[in-house]
Symmetry: C2
Subunit: 193 residues, 2 copies
């Protein structure tokens, strides 16, 4: 099916362009025209692949990020929470270093504009929920109490989101790697933390 191949390519190109641009300027900061220009696609293609238009595209991007994160959790499921957090943190860091691939800051960006659209808000909320849940499960497997596991999962998520945001805003990747190290320690059973 060469038709399908072309389809996938265009669809993917649209999502990649959207990811890059939304990350830079947020949902409302980017016009459809610009996405199409970057993706080198005509308007018809966008509304063919994403009948709901701009929101539909943004939701698809969020879901894609969510599933990528879930894959990372699955790939690291056999590790203890500190190792898992370190590995996932490093993977996300790699995404951020490769131009435009920053997942963290995109979710944060959409979260910041949360009251925009119910569907988009729901997608971001779902992504946060599944990520927190995976983190919590890992911590509980390590022996943390349910309450402790939930709190620490929230802390780790907030830390990553905040660090992604601030380090992006200030052009200081350093902060993100510091945050990874700290998040790892938050998950360790030894020490007061």
């Amino acid at each position: 099916m060469s038709a399908l191949a072309a389809d996938v390519a265009t669809r993917t190109r649209l999502m990649e362009a959207a990811l890059i641009l939304f990350r830079q300027r947020g949902f409302h900061g980017v016009g459809i025209a610009e996405i199409l220009r970057v993706a080198r696609a005509p308007k018809g293609s966008l509304y063919h692949h994403f009948p709901g238009g701009k929101v539909d595209l943004a939701v698809a991007v969020v879901q894609n990020i969510e599933s990528r994160l879930q894959q990372l959790f699955a790939a690291n499921a056999s590790f203890a929470a500190p190792i898992l957090v370190r590995n996932i943190g490093n993977s996300v860091w790699q995404w951020m270093r490769r131009a435009g691939g920053d997942a963290c800051a995109l979710l944060a960006s959409f979260a910041a504009e949360g009251d925009t659209d119910p569907a988009l808000r729901a997608a971001v909320g779902h992504a946060y929920r599944t990520t927190t849940e995976s983190l919590r499960a890992s911590l509980q497997r390590d022996g943390w109490s349910p309450g402790q596991a939930r709190d620490r999962a929230g802390i780790v998520l907030a830390l990553f989101e905040g660090a992604g945001l601030v380090s992006h805003a200030r052009g200081e990747p350093r902060l993100f790697s510091t945050a990874i190290r700290h998040a790892v320690r938050v998950c360790e059973r030894e020490g007061t933390f």
Copy 2:
């Protein structure tokens, strides 16, 4: 000067409306028309008080938040870092609970759309810088090494920004108070953390 009084009132009303709306939907998500409607001001007033238009208004709001944060640091300068962080965290939490007064999530929102405008980006960067600097100074006063103080200041800032964002996105104020408690511990000299 009753003219000045009217002036101040309109200017303030514009900034308050902008703060509330930008926080909800970000810089690009809010139109000037809506700000004017909420502030009950005509267009002419906006461009009189903020000749640079929308960006000028947003920068003023960011600077206002920055100065409010600096006032909090000044008011808590005599406390050790953990107490200072707890107090400031609680104050910010109060802002967030009062409708529309969330400072953290607004900076985060603008940071997320950072590539929008150089002036806005600079204002947010400056606010982050002064806040981190105040935090670092407090930690160093407590005896932390310069490197440790800088790292921990960054962690605390990222934690607050991330927690403000995620808790706002998910409607879970709980996470923010958990983050405050954690941030306090990050600043404590006792324990491994």
